[in-house]
Every structure is written in structure tokens, then in C-alpha cells.
Subunit: 573 residues, 2 copies
């Protein structure tokens, strides 16, 4: 590997930076303008969702995107605050501080730092595979349930009341308690904005297309819905002095670039947040990498999971030092970036500059922006994530997957996001272990005219009454050895003429210590009944381990490379 390519492996910027020219610059700039316009409302809204002051949303969208551009491998991924991670932030930080307090803000900053360190650690130690333990159905179920919780949590802004809670039950009870304080003007703004944004999604895009605007441009314009809603509702709130009628607005937002911040290093805070930080890092990573992979596939670019972890890690550490909160790659903004024609991560840097300009000069303009408008943008955005079809799909295909999805969804909704993910992972691991503890076992025979052996119950095969060939469709280990023993003894009891038992190991990928002892016992017991015990099709890695064990020494029968060889030997008996 040359020096250059070694550097560009760890700093991908050296890869695309060398071929940067005016065409790519123009494309990136256009994309950046589009994304900036879209990001302003989104950043404010996700800060609100996380229980933080709106400006922190802008801050979290600036430096992290630049840092990811330097270290990440995706060329179009846009990193910043996203819905699910903001919800997880609120859930985690809400456990140790009250929203709106300086302690709450400090904890959110610390959480970003911890998440950054965890992601960097996972990347440096190449532990990205850990994310594989969150199965696709679990993730889908989790995102759907989170979307519902997020939407429910924003209802208080639509109603103009105070409420809180980290799961559907808490939120519903809290909303019911204060529903009497309902503010009708707020409700009107909130519901009209929601209706408008839903129409933009469903009706505006087809309209643009009908008007002859091309697909890509239509897609981009359709994403401008939130900014239109913000401009209009802010103007109305200002003209009619809605603040005097109890409508909550964003209010004073400090002007200027992100102030430097420092994470806390209090042991207490770290201990309370560490579990949440790990969970959030893994979920953020999975969300981010699946977007990156989808977008990269269409352009045949490669995504390196461990380098992605480093990119996201540095972005989060950056967020912690620039008054941000936990970030990851966001779906809608990355799509917009991609659709708007971004070619290199430089587009991200231009977006950061755009947001910097906004936070320097535009913050006074959003004083009258109603919180109900931001809530409506969040609700419409997350409802797009809600997808119950995974329940039906898994029900049809696999009850174990269904159990994992159902557990993830219901625990997330009823007990909160963190327990929801944990429940999903546990159920998927336990069902897998349970299934392998009572594996499929087939008695096999020869498919006539071939050297192939299949299940006697499913295929028309040849069998010899003196020979019993048992194929066990699972690795042999502590949880299933007893099951195999019992099955062999009961099959042997049924066949009085039996002289040979062959264990066909084509599906046995490992034999652990407990299973080895079981095979020894089976061998001994069969010997007492004057039956020889053979193994066939033992795989290389399994055979390597068996070498030198007492099983091979004491085995009454032989070990055959292929099942078919057993035929010749037994015939010669």
C-alpha cells in the first residue's frame, strides 16, 4: 500500500480531495443550499424533541457534519441531530436531570462525548460487527414504535399544554391531566400545519410532477414544506401577537456561532449514562450505516463499517465541544443532499457554513416561530417511519422473528425505548438458542441412482434395515446433546435388526465439550447392544478438534469422508 492510499484509508478526504474541481464544487454548493434550507427547521425541531434549547440543534448540525466529511467514508451522508437519537437523548438525560436546566444541557453534551468515545472505540477495535446483533426486524419494529412515541410526545406542543413521559402510557396520562389547559389557537396552528405538511408529502409532489417539473427537482421542492410552514406561521404569530394569547413560540435565540463547551467528567453522570450511551451509539450507527450503504450502492461506492464508526465518533466528540448533542447520519437530509446532486463531502462543509450564517443573522427572525409548527414537522417526519407491515411479514415467514418484533414494539411503547431494544435483542438471541436446543433430526436414505442422501419422510429413498443413518441439522452443543441422545436411543429401540448407527454430520458445524461426552456415551451404550457407531461427512474444522480425543480412540465404527462411502463398507460386512 502506498503512503497516500494508507492515509486516504484513515482520512478519506485525501481520496476525493485530489480530484476536486469546479464542476463538483458547483454541484456541492447547490446541494448545500438546499440542505441548509431544509436543516434549519429540522435542527430546531430535534433540539425541541431532545428537550434542549433550539439553538443547540443548529450547533449540532455544524461541526459534526464537517468532521464526518473528513473522517467518514460515505460521500453524501449528512450527519446531525436525528429523530430517534434525539428521543434516546431525551430518555437518557431525562433520567438524571430536568429538561431546561443547565444540568440537563450539560448531561446532553456529556452524552454526545461518551457516545463519540464509544463509537471511536468500536471503530478502532473493529467491533462494528456488534451492530449485527440488532436484527433487521428488531430495528424496524423499534423505529416504528419510536416514531409513535415521538409523535405522541409532540402532541403537547400541538395542544399548547405541558406534559411529559418516555412511553405511551406516561405520555397519555400526562396529556389527559393537563388537557383542560388546552390553547385553541395553538391547536389550530398545529393541526393546520400538520395537515399542510401531510398534503405536501402526498399531494404536492404529484402536483409538481403534473406541472412538468422533473422528478429530482420535484423531490427537492417537496422537502421545502417545513420551511414554508415556518415562514407563514411565524409571520401570522407576529402580526396577530399570538404570544399575548398564550401561544408558545421559540422566543429569544442567542445570536452567534456555537460556543465552546466541555463534557462533564463526573463519575456519577458517566455511570448513569453509560448504558444509554452504548445503546444510542449502536442504534445511531446502524441507522447511519444503512443509509450510507443504500446511497453508496447506487453509485457503486464502498462503505467501510469500522471507518464509519470513526467518522461518527469524531462527529459526536465534535458535537460535545461545540455545544451540540448526540448526532448520527440522518435519512431525509442525506436523501435531499443526494437528490440535490452533492458529489463529495465538501457539500457538508458548505452546509455547515450556511447554518453558521443562519445562526449569526437569522435567529432574531424566528422569535415568533410557534413551537406547534416545529412539533408538526416532527410528527409528519416520524410518521413516515411508522411501518407495521413488518409484523405481518414476520408472522408469515418466521414466528421467532415475529416474537422479537412484537416484543420490541410493545416494550418500547409501554416501557420506553431503551428497554424496548434490549427486549428485542434478548428475544432474538433466546429464540435462536431455544430452536437450536431441539434441532431438526432426519433419518436419511439414499436417493436412488445418486450418491445423495435425504430425509426418508420427504423423499423416496433406499434404506437398509441393518443401518440407521441419522442427520442432525444443528451443531452439537450443551443445549441439544441430551435431545440427540434421547432420539438416537428411541430410534434404536424401534429397530431390532440394527447393526450400524451412522451420525451424518454434514450440518454439524461444531461439537463442544458436552456434546463430545454425549457422543462418548452414545458410543458406549450402542456397543453394549452390539451396534457400531459411525460418523460421516465430518467437516474439516470439526475433525481437527476431534483428533486426539477419546471419542476417536474408542469409536466402535469408522469415520467416513462422505455418506456414500458408508454404503460400500457396510455391504462388505
Amino acid at each position: 500500500m502506498s503512503n497516500m492510499s494508507r492515509i486516504s484509508k484513515f482520512l478519506p478526504i485525501f481520496d476525493w480531495g485530489r480530484t476536486y474541481n469546479q464542476v463538483t464544487f458547483t454541484n456541492d454548493l447547490v446541494a448545500a443550499v438546499v440542505v441548509t434550507v431544509m436543516l434549519i427547521p429540522q435542527s430546531l425541531a430535534y433540539a425541541l424533541l431532545a428537550g434542549l434549547p433550539p439553538e443547540m440543534g443548529l450547533y449540532a448540525s455544524m461541526f459534526p457534519i464537517v468532521l464526518y466529511a473528513i473522517f467518514g467514508t460515505s460521500r453524501v451522508l449528512a450527519v446531525g441531530p436525528v429523530a430517534v437519537v434525539s428521543l434516546l437523548t431525551a430518555a437518557a438525560v431525562g433520567k438524571i436531570a430536568i429538561p431546561g436546566t443547565p444540568e440537563y444541557i450539560a448531561a446532553a453534551i456529556t452524552l454526545a462525548f461518551m457516545s463519540g468515545i464509544i463509537l471511536l472505540g468500536l471503530g478502532l477495535f473493529r467491533l462494528g460487527f456488534l451492530a449485527n446483533f440488532l436484527s433487521h426486524p428488531v430495528i424496524t419494529g423499534f423505529i416504528t414504535a419510536s416514531g409513535i412515541i415521538i409523535a405522541a410526545s409532540q402532541m403537547k406542543h400541538i395542544f399548547g399544554i405541558n406534559a411529559d413521559g418516555h412511553n405511551i402510557l406516561e405520555i397519555t396520562i400526562s396529556l389527559r391531566e393537563s388537557i383542560t389547559e388546552l390553547n385553541w389557537i395553538t391547536l389550530l396552528i398545529g393541526s393546520l400545519t400538520t395537515a399542510f405538511l401531510l398534503w405536501v408529502r402526498k399531494g404536492f409532489l404529484p402536483l409538481l410532477l403534473k406541472l412538468g417539473i422533473n422528478q429530482r427537482a420535484s423531490n427537492i421542492f417537496a422537502k421545502a414544506g417545513p420551511i414554508i410552514a415556518i415562514v407563514i406561521t411565524t409571520l401570522i404569530a407576529w402580526i396577530f401577537s399570538f404570544t399575548e394569547r398564550g401561544v408558545k413560540v421559540v422566543g429569544e435565540v442567542p445570536q452567534g456561532l456555537p460556543p465552546i463547551s466541555l463534557p462533564s467528567f463526573s463519575i456519577d453522570i458517566w455511570t448513569s449514562l453509560i448504558g444509554s450511551a452504548i445503546l444510542m451509539s449502536l442504534i445511531g450507527f446502524i441507522e447511519s450505516i444503512s443509509i450510507a450503504r443504500t446511497l453508496a450502492a447506487t453509485k457503486r461506492q464502498r462503505i467501510d463499517p469500522n471507518q464509519e464508526l470513526i467518522g461518527l465518533g469524531v462527529a459526536n466528540v465534535g458535537a460535545a465541544f461545540t455545544s451540540g448533542f448526540p448526532v448520527t447520519g440522518g435519512f431525509s437530509r442525506s436523501i435531499v443532499n443526494y437528490d440535490a446532486g452533492a458529489e463529495t463531502p465538501a457539500a457538508g462543509a458548505f452546509t455547515a457554513i450556511g447554518l453558521g450564517v443562519a445562526s449569526l443573522f437569522l435567529t432574531t427572525l424566528i422569535f415568533y416561530l410557534p413551537k406547534a409548527t416545529l412539533a408538526a414537522t416532527i410528527i409528519v417526519a416520524v410518521l413516515a417511519l411508522v411501518d407495521f407491515s413488518i409484523l405481518k411479514k414476520t408472522w408469515i415467514y418466521s414466528k421467532a422473528d415475529f416474537a422479537a418484533v412484537a416484543a420490541t414494539m410493545s416494550v418500547t411503547l409501554i416501557m420506553g425505548v431503551e428497554l424496548g431494544v434490549i427486549a428485542g435483542v434478548l428475544i432474538s438471541i433466546l429464540t435462536r438458542i431455544y430452536k437450536s436446543s431441539c434441532p431438526h433430526i432426519a433419518i436419511v436414505g439414499q436417493v436412488p441412482g445418486t450418491e445423495h442422501y435425504r430425509n426418508v419422510l420427504r423423499h423416496d429413498v433406499l434404506v437398509n434395515p441393518q443401518v440407521l443413518t441419522i442427520r442432525v441439522d444443528e451443531s452439537l452443543y450443551f443445549a441439544n446433546t441430551r435431545f440427540l441422545e434421547d432420539r438416537i436411543y428411541s430410534e434404536v429401540a424401534k429397530k431390532p435388526d440394527l447393526k450400524h448407527v451412522i451420525l451424518m454430520c454434514s450440518a454439524v458445524n461444531a461439537i463442544d465439550m458436552s456434546a463430545l461426552e454425549s457422543l462418548n456415551i452414545i458410543n458406549e451404550r450402542l456397543m453394549l447392544g452390539d451396534i457400531k457407531f459411525h460418523l460421516s461427512e465430518v467437516k474439516g474444522p470439526v475433525m481437527d478438534k476431534l483428533e486426539g480425543t477419546s471419542l476417536l480412540k474408542d469409536l466402535s465404527g469408522d469415520i467416513f469422508l462422505s455418506q456414500h462411502q458408508t454404503k460400500k463398507l457396510i455391504n462388505s460386512d
Copy 2:
């Protein structure tokens, strides 16, 4: 099934009871006398180990053994207090009460009741398979570590000092703190008794054999060591009035049959004990059933795991109502029962009568029995359980099993018995999951002259440059699908002439939802590169699930019953 055999399935007593005659009666009676003599010191000692008054040991040995005789399937298993379960009782009850208090006794009785209910539940719902999750190496490691803790916990009686603790660290610190109060006479009794009992084990048996006494009788006499030690040390302690010199003795033991007792139904107690009760039930069950199986195998009798659970469950419930504490099948007493010629569970009933006589008439005789003597019998008994060879065996055979054993042993020693078992089970499950997340994957080719396909790296096989056959040695599921995808893409990238990729599924025992999506993606990507994707040797149960999925509809290639069929088709290309 006739009515009779249906009854005898649930009440095995009807099975052996019908053929009972004078010969079996005599044999059972002889065995019962031998076992009673051996059980008296053992019962007293295990009560001491559990932190309970000595008479509770006798009580726990009476009714449970009779109840097991009615409901259990083993003909020679002797149920009563055993070392490991007594240690677990002390660990569990010690968390909520102080040894020697009425609360402690009540909690031990409640624990027996809970354990009984759990065992009955497991038996009725046929959940005996749960015990399979404790692998053989984990159990061996646990018993060894428990043996060491038990021996250490008895050192205070040998030294004649006060000390406590539930793991090696606590016990050592506690012993060091009070070692200054050492009682020299107690130490002398304790160490001489230990030496004597060790000699009985190692030297007495060979001596008896040399004297021409047959193996069986010698075995029985050698077990009489503890009763000899008790008689001698009690006499000495009485004659020399050792109690006046600070030697602790058993003291006043109430005379009479077991008083009726009632378990507590306090929610608090049940919540604190439920985890321990489950653990204890499983461990007790495993210990008991492995003894029962070993003894049954030599006489070709059958042990039904679920009926065993019911037998042990009823025995524990019985213990709870007759002032006992948790019980299970004991190793040494069952062996003695077997060696002494017991033929039916009636021997157990006779033993119970023997113990009843003892608790009616002999309790005054053991007033002067030194606690150091009982401690010595415990130490010698449990040291026989200590076996470190499992560390070496697993190290050679399987590092994953080694990790589980090492974790079980070290956590048990350092953090106590309950965490030790949990650590062992978790490590064995996690290593298994980890291994299956990066499975062995082989590129295979045809073994010349056969229809058999094996690893190109291990065998001299034929391959076609246009065809890549990949055999993955694991079921496909969420944890390993990404691994498979990456491997296929990297193999494909190496072979420019490739036209066909065949996934050989002989070792794929299941395909979950995540893996199904991965296969869809692999199929699509290969299609883009003009490569056909085939499956071969898909097992029946897997194929059943794939029917009707989009994978089968969209698959660019075919599905072949045997790997060898792929050859013909591809040649016809």
C-alpha cells in the same frame, strides 16, 4: 395405555410395588440400616452448613425420601440435604436473615416450598430441558468451586472461631479477623478427625480389600468413617468436659419427630428468594438426575426427567411442611444405598423410619458431639468433589468451553455461588452466539470420481472457473448475514470469469428474516454483475419456509436438490 400403566407413569410406586416380595424386602432393609447410619452425621453436618439447627438436617432426611419414593422414577436415589444445595440455601437465606434467628429458619422452610413448587411446575409443563442450558463443563466447574467455598466456610468450626461470608474473599478476611480467638483443642479435634477421615477414604478401603473383604462390603464399611469419628470425638468431649474449655458442641437437640411447619407467603420474602429458588431448583435437579441416570444405566432402568422433577418437587414441598430445608438426590448416599443392595424405593422409607427412631431416642447422645467433627466430615466429603482437571480438558479441546468453566469457577469463588452459575451460563451462550456470528465458510469443489464436494483448501478437488460454490457452515441469521454478504462479494471480486454463484446449504439449518433479506440483496447485486445465484442442498424444513417468499420468485438461478446436480446444468450452459 391400560389404567394401571397410566397410574404407574405418574405414581411409579405402582410399578415396583406389585412385584414386592420377601427377598426385595430383606435387601431393602439391609440397605436402609447402612444408609441410616451414614445419614445421621451427614444430615447434622449439612444443617450446620446451611446455618440451621442440626435437627433440621434429620427432619429434611425423613419425609422427603418417602415422598420421592412414591413419585420419583429412580429406584435407588436417596433424597435429602446435600452439600451444594445446603450452600445455596445459606447463600440465599443469608441475604434476608441472620443465621440462627427464627426468621432465618422460616426463610429456609419457605425456600424449600418455593423450590418444590418450581420443580413441580417445571415437571408439569415439561420444562426439564431448561436444565440442558447448564453445560457439563459449567456444572463441573461450579461444583469444584462450591466444594472449595464449602470447605473454607467450615474452617471456622475447625479453628473454633466465628467467621462468615459467601465467597472465598469474605471468608478469608473474616477468618483472619478472628484467628486470634483460636481454640487449640477444637483445632486438634478438627484436624485429627479430618486426617482420620482422609485416611479412611485413601487407606482404609485398600486395607479392607487386602484383608479379603469383598469390594461391595468394603465400600460400605469405608463409608462408616464419619460415624466412627462422631462416636469417638463425642465420647472424648464428654469424658474430658471439653465444653468447659471452649469447644463448641452440638448441644441440646429437641427430641421427637419433625414438627409440622408452614412456609411464609410474604411477598417480600418470595421476591427476594425467587431468583435463588429457581437457580437452586435447576442445580439440584441436574445433580440429582445425573446420579439417577448413572445408577439406572447399570441396571438398564429408565429415568423420566419430567417425572423426576415431580418427585423432587413433592419431596421439597414435603420438606417445607415438616421443618426441613431444600433437598435433592445426594451422590454419596445414593451410591451407598445402591452398593448396600437397595432394590426398590422402599429402602428409602425404611431409612426414614431409621432416622425417625434416631431423632426420637438418640438426640440426647449427641449433646457433646463437637462441631469440629461435623465440619471435618463436610470438608472431606466436599474435597472429593473438587476436580480441576476440567480446566485442562477444556483448554485442550475448546477455548469457548474453557472460558465458561474459568468464568464459572472464578466468579463462584470471588463473588459467590449464584453469580458464578449465571456467569457460566451467560458465557457459554455468548461464546456460542459469537462463534455463529462469524461462521466457517468454505469454497468447495468436487472430489474426483465421486458426487461429493469438499473444501478446496483441504482436499484435492475439481473446480470450474465460471462457478463459485460457497458452503457456509452455520444457519443463516441476523448475526452472521452481513459476514456472509461481505465474504461472497470479496470472493466474486477475485474471479473475473464468474458466471454462477452457488450457495451450498447442507449446513444451513434455518434462514431467518434478516438472512432472507440478505439473500435477496445478494441475488440483486450478483444480477447487476450478470452472475446467476443458485442454492443447493436446501433442507426440507428450510425449503418449506422459503416457499412463497420473494427470494424464490426473483432468484436469478435455480435450486438444486443435491450439489452434484448443479454440475450437469452448468455444463449445459
